[in-house]
Symmetry: C2
DNA sequence: TAGTGGTCTAGACCACTAG
DNA sequence: TAGTGGTCTAGACCACTAG
């Protein structure tokens, strides 16, 4: 009906794979055979195979054929943003201070900069219902004449702070997610006890050449924090109809 | 040279977007105009646009044109597997017990089953260097004649346990990641103190109709646990060359 | 050498948008 | 009504695989 031919082929192949009729590693019919089976042109068959490949169902080996993929069980989509991963979103941010400092070894390592380079340190507290819920520290390599406008830093996420001019498309990011006992500094800033667990999320920003352009950690009080992720194998065809 | 025409168009458009020449929301040239610009057929231009769209750079509005997307800052790819998210991978698993029980309210809610239904509870401990590092509890709706082979459960991940026959392609998964103070049970099983923070990861498995087919939580001792995620905007064209 | 997937062309018809 | 993207065709030539 409204559904184009290439999508009915996609659904047909998915059904065969989901039912186990085609198993991981199996070679599927050749493109020309599929043309005959469905009575369509090769470009239409190839469109279907492109969709199946983009959703991870199949892969192709030039000269040989198309094969059913191993389902990637361990892959998830995660949404994170230091400003909205709190149970109820952040109402207020307090900018503690912005300083230009000599980097520690840890900072040198994470930003991959020479020893003599200075870094900008931005410290913020996220506040919810009047109480601190997260403590945020960010390090950015400092260059002469770098504009530091405190107002702009207040509510900005890390990529927004670093990528003032640069297109956000060009920034790659890495997250490290871990639990930790609060140290003295964190206990003081967040006003918590030894038994209050803290979620530490490290963010590293990289430019298009994988050079670090920013590094930082956000410490969330456990009670206010959780992350959600979904398997990346949800049937994306739902978005097409 | 070896690089096909459609990829040089892709790189060209990416460069324009990364440089800010084309900004989010901007309409790009029409497909026919691009055909003239690059002196190629429309199918080749469309192949390029398909690649750009699949990588999130652009989207199309039929009847109007193609537009530059807002970069999705918050989207990450996360890899998780209760068996290998430990600093050093798990050497040993101890199956504490497998029982068939009356579900609690929490289990009823998460598995979306009627009150009179029974559930299988599987409790395991992950062991590293002789010490427990994680405590794992899984709930699966029980049906008459369900085979429960303890040997098969020992080292299997959750999807493997639930999806005995079913294709792994058909399973969707949801993760909830949170920090918590260890309760009495967790302290006893993992042999830890009140000040030892625990990472709790909830896993929910859903079939193709979004019906829950399994639910569980794994409690990791903080010291042995971390997750890593990368932004999903890494230039996938690297995989093509 | 026959078969495979990868790229590309020059057309066609369609529904939709917006003046 | 002119322009847009969406689908589809029937061809072509290519590099690569494997007997």
């Amino acid at each position: 009906m409204g559904s184009p031919i290439y999508l009915t082929i996609v659904e047909d192949m998915k059904q065969k794979i989901n039912a186990g009729e085609l198993k991981p590693g199996d070679m599927i019919k050749s493109e020309n055979t599929l043309c005959d089976d469905y009575n369509v042109s090769r470009m239409t068959v190839r469109k279907s195979l492109t969709v199946l490949a983009s959703e991870g169902y199949i892969y192709s080996v030039p000269g040989k054929g198309n094969f059913v993929n191993e389902p990637n069980q361990d892959k998830y989509i995660l949404y994170f943003n230091e400003m909205n991963s709190i149970e109820s979103s952040i109402e207020e941010t307090e900018l503690l201070d912005v300083n230009i400092v000599k980097p520690t070894l840890e900072i040198l390592f994470n930003l991959q900069i020479p020893e003599n380079k200075r870094v900008v340190v931005i410290r913020r507290i996220m506040i919810n219902d009047g109480d601190p819920v997260a403590y945020d520290i960010k390090y950015i390599p400092y260059y002469r004449g770098m504009p530091i406008v405190e107002k702009e830093i207040h509510y900005a996420t890390f990529p927004e702070i670093v990528a003032k001019k640069k297109s956000l498309f060009a920034i790659n990011k890495e997250l490290k997610i871990r639990v930790q006992r609060p140290d003295a500094e964190i206990k003081a800033v967040l006003n918590i006890e030894d038994t209050d667990p803290v979620m530490a999320i490290e963010q590293k920003l990289l430019d298009e050449n994988s050079k670090p352009i920013g590094w930082g950690v956000t410490y969330f009080i456990g009670d206010f924090f959780h992350l959600q992720a979904v398997s990346s194998f949800v049937d994306k065809s739902n978005n097409i109809y």
